[in-house]
Symmetry: C2
Subunit: 188 residues, 2 copies
DNA sequence: CCTCCAAACAAACCGACTGTCGGTCTGGAA
DNA sequence: TTCCAGACCGACAGTCGGTTTGTTTGGAGG
C-alpha cells in the first residue's frame, strides 16, 4: 500500500500548489474549481475524492501557509532570551513575511470570510496567534485576565500594518511604527 | 420627471433593505441574487438596471450601514471638548454599536473580501476611519508622520475586540480592555 | 498465483446561480 | 401628439459547485 498512498499524497500536493497560487492571485471567489482542474489536469472526481469541497480545499491551503509561516517565525526568534525582545522580533519577522501577496490575500483577506470568524480563529490559535499569545504572556507586562483580548488586538493591529505596507507605503516606516506601537503597549 | 425618479428610489430602497438583511444573515456568498428577487418581488432586469452586479449591491448596502454608523458616532461624541476623551468615547460607542450582528458580518467580515482591501479602505476612509484619524490627530499624541499607520492599527485592534465580544466574551471586559489599550497608546 | 476490496481517478450529469439581451410600458419633455 | 429615456420584464446562455456512476489498479489475504 505504498505506491498508492504516495500517488495520492503527490496528487494532493499538486492540487495544493496550484490552488494556493490561484487563491493568492484571484482570491477565493475569483478562482473556480474548474480552473484548478484544468491547471492540474485532474478530473472532478479525483479532486473531490481528496477534498470535500472548495472551502475544504481553501482550508488545506491556508493550513499549509500558516504552518510555513510558523516554522519561519520560530527560526526568527530562536535564541532570543528576553521575552519582550522576542515578541518584537517575531512581530517584525511576520511583517516582513507578509510582504508576500499570497500570504496576505489568503491569510488576512479571504480566510475570515471563507471559514467564518470562529473557524478562522480556531486555526489561528494553533499557529501564529498561539505563538503571539505565549510571547505576550512571557513578557509579564499584561494582566493575565486581559491577555486574550490584548493578544487579539495586537495581532489585528500588526496584520493591518502589513496590509498598509502592501498598499505601497514603504516597509521601513511601517516597521518603525510597529516597533513603536509595541513599545508603547508594553511599557510597564 | 418626479414620479419616475421617486419610483426608482423607492425600488432601490426596497432592494437595499432586503439585501442588507440577507447579507447580514447569510453572508455575501450565502446570499443569492435569486433570493433577493424573490423577497423583493422584483424582476432580474429591474435589479440589474439599478445595480450593476452582486458586488455593487453589496457595496451599496455597506455604504448605507457605514453612513448610519457615522451619524450615530457623531451624536455620541458631540459636545465633548477634550480630543482624547472624544476619541475614547467614540471608540466605545463603536464597540457597542457593532454588537449588532448585521454590522459585524457586513462591515468587518465580508467587506474586505468582497470589495478587496483597496476599495474597502477607500470607503472606510470616507466614514469611520476618517473620523478616527481626525480624532487621533486632534489629540496631538501621535507624531504626524505616523498618524496614518497608527490610525489603521488602532481601528483594526478595536474592530478585532468587537469580534471577540461577539464570540461570547462579556461586553464590559472588552470595553475595559479597549479603554486600557487606548490609554496605553495615548500616554505622552 | 488468483481473488477481491478499496483507493484513485474519470466523465457525464444536475441544480442553482450570475449576468445579458431584446423587448414593453409609461411619465413627462418638446 | 410625438417621442425618448428611465423603469421594468422574463427568457436565455454560460458557469460553477457538487453528485453519481463507472473504471482502473495496487496490493493484501487466501
Amino acid at each position: 500500500m505504498n505506491l498508492k498512498a504516495e500517488r495520492g499524497a503527490a496528487t494532493r500536493d499538486r492540487v495544493l500548489t496550484v490552488a494556493r497560487r490561484l487563491f493568492a492571485e484571484q482570491g477565493y471567489e475569483g478562482t473556480s474549481i474548474e480552473t484548478v482542474l484544468q491547471e492540474t489536469g485532474l478530473s472532478r472526481g479525483a479532486l473531490y475524492h481528496h477534498y470535500s469541497g472548495k472551502d475544504a480545499l481553501f482550508e488545506a491551503v491556508l493550513e499549509q501557509v500558516e504552518t510555513s509561516v510558523g516554522v519561519r517565525l520560530m527560526e526568527a526568534v530562536k535564541g532570543i532570551a528576553d521575552p519582550a525582545e522576542a515578541l518584537v522580533t517575531g512581530c517584525l519577522a511576520w511583517v516582513r513575511m507578509a510582504r508576500d501577496p499570497a500570504t496576505r490575500r489568503i491569510v488576512l483577506i479571504d480566510a475570515p470570510a471563507v471559514l467564518g470568524w470562529e473557524r478562522w480563529r480556531a486555526l489561528e490559535e494553533r499557529h501564529a496567534f498561539g505563538m503571539l499569545k505565549a510571547a505576550l504572556r512571557a513578557t509579564g507586562r499584561v494582566p493575565k485576565e486581559a491577555l486574550d483580548v490584548y493578544a487579539h488586538m495586537l495581532l489585528a493591529a500588526i496584520n493591518e500594518s502589513v496590509l498598509l505596507v502592501a498598499r505601497g507605503n514603504e516597509l521601513e516606516g511601517a516597521e518603525r511604527a510597529v516597533e513603536d506601537f509595541l513599545h508603547r503597549l508594553l511599557r510597564p
